[in-house]
């Protein structure tokens, strides 16, 4: 059972108690009629008391039924097990309840012949099943809500990743330096200026287009990064070396859309661009023990110890958790002899039909 929380059980019990009290009010006249047929003339107060006993006993029994329903929930796929448990349980609980009821009612109305009807037993069994069915319904509602919530959360996180990626592109330092470089290239090499403009366009469009798709093939993610890195490489000339190494067969593996962007941006911004002299940023993808491993490394000063994670990395982590539960990991560590290594490990999987 995907844990029915004790607080949930308590709330369900409270709802059951209210329902049973209402039932007692409705059934008061039935009790009066039953006793009248058996030759007893009960006052309406007594009749109500008897009805209250009949129904409030269910309030006492409900926690046991709810617990059992939580332990053995109804499920469409394997109906045999819950039926095998709840059919006999319904009868046993009902008999027990009727015996208890008889004892208490005698105390209320005094000794004498009790009206008996098989109907009471049927009603009890029905009530038992009503409780189980209500619990099942509540579980389904909760699961549906959780599913919706999870989908909404994933959507929000993707939107955040998109905003982060856009921020990276319109990060004033990146955008204005890129525009400045384009205006410089314009005077010396029109083709090259053109290529840089195209890269900037691709980058902006690529990010805007990643709308509702949670996962994309690694090749697509790398294409978008390619535009970003091409711009950076032009800006910094020989000072920046970019290495991209994708093991054969990994290109079509699915990765969360825009997952590499904040990591590569960190490598450039905090690793490469604050360290004088030439530097390299490398991206490697390989399949290791059923995981897709993505390594992004730089040759900068290394991550501050202890690591202070920015908004981008925190969002990356929470997306990984929402998408793959515990099956994905992100680590950021110093690298020998210098620099930072960010490692992403994702479950290796492909789009259906590819």
């Amino acid at each position: 059972m995907r844990g029915t929380h004790p607080a949930n059980l308590r709330r369900r019990w409270l709802v059951a108690a209210c329902c049973f009290t209402a039932a007692a009010v409705v059934f008061t006249s039935q009790v009066w009629v039953d006793y009248a047929y058996a030759g007893h003339r009960l006052s309406w107060t007594r009749a109500f008391l008897v009805a209250l006993v009949q129904w409030q006993l269910w309030t006492l029994l409900a926690p046991a039924v709810l617990l059992l329903a939580a332990r053995v929930p109804l499920s469409r796929q394997r109906l045999a097990i819950p039926l095998a448990v709840h059919v006999p349980a319904a009868v046993v609980v009902s008999m027990f309840k009727l015996a208890l009821e008889a004892a208490i009612v005698q105390a209320v109305v005094g000794r004498g012949r009790m009206p008996f009807s098989l109907l009471n037993l049927y009603l009890s069994v029905l009530t038992y099943w009503a409780i189980v069915a209500a619990a099942h319904y509540a579980d389904q509602q909760r699961l549906a809500r959780e599913r919706e919530l999870r989908a909404a959360r994933l959507q929000t996180e993707l939107a955040r990743a998109q905003v982060e990626a856009l921020k990276m592109q319109i990060h004033p330092h990146f955008l204005f330096n890129t525009l400045n470089a384009i205006s410089g290239l314009m005077r010396e090499d029109v083709e090259s200026a053109d290529a840089m403009l195209t890269d900037l366009g691709e980058l902006l469009r690529g990010t805007l287009q990643t709308q509702d798709v949670q996962e994309v093939p690694l090749a697509d993610e790398l294409r978008l990064l390619g535009s970003y890195l091409a711009i950076q490489q032009k800006r910094f000339g020989d000072r920046l070396t970019v290495e991209i190494d994708v093991a054969p067969g990994c290109e079509q593996s699915l990765v969360p859309a825009l997952i590499l962007q904040p990591i590569v941006e960190n490598a450039i911004r905090h690793g490469f661009s604050v360290t004088p002299g030439p530097g390299a940023v490398s991206i490697r993808a390989s399949a290791v023990n059923g995981s897709l491993r993505l390594d992004v490394s730089d040759e900068g000063a290394g991550p501050p110890q202890p690591l202070r994670e920015g908004y981008g990395l925190r969002n990356t982590r929470s997306r990984l958790h929402a998408l793959y539960d515990g099956a994905a990991a992100l680590s950021v560590a110093p690298r020998e002899p210098r620099g930072t290594l960010a490692r992403l490990e994702l479950p290796l999987h492909r789009a259906a039909g590819s």
Partner: protein, 248 residues
Amino acid sequence: MTLRVLIVDDEPIARRRLNLLLEDEASVEVVGESEDGESALNAIRRLRPDLVFLDVQMPGLDGFDVIELLKPEECPAVIFVTAYDKYAMRAFDVHAADYLLKPFERGRLRKALARATALSAAEVPARLQAVVNTVRSDQPLRRFLVKTPGRVHAVRADDVESLEAAGHYVELRTAAGAHLVRESMAALEKRLDPARFVRIHRSAIVNVDKVIELRPAFHGEFEVVLGGGRRLRCSRTYADQLTRLLES
């Protein structure tokens, strides 16, 4: 009279672009180019330019570090060049410094050149220093400049474990080693990020991110154990503040 100009920018295209624009200015001669703060510092001392186009954001020493490290008599006129930096732009406006925002066109460049040449050389160093001071006071110190004979390097505040008084100097301790900075503890303390650096003793400040253990000692004092294994005493006066910061 020609104006001798040095161009400082970490991006080669940006340097070439400025060079190309300046070629058309009759009274300007570009005498050199530098790609980072340290080489800019050397070039300024060696070439003695009249004017420097100084990129603000650069690897290692940034534009403001360069000005901070120049003696007043070494300081040329400066036109700052930046893509965007809100602290810097505020400081430029406050002190009416000359600056260019990338990308800029010829008209802007000419205006900046005219203003920079109109300024009397005598008041340049003080004005530039005022810009640096404003920028520095707006944001906590992120890097320390450590001067050793022949070179200057930057130590990230993130990496510093402790600052300890040592005579007229302050010793910056990092996992990699110790550096001496010629400044007083009190002056340094004012510029540190108060959310991370805390005084634990009359002559010691620690980076709370590097504290791994507090061992209670006598009289309400603590022994502070840092990531690198170094142990320092925290006197009672400062104990409260240290524990409060550690818990935040």
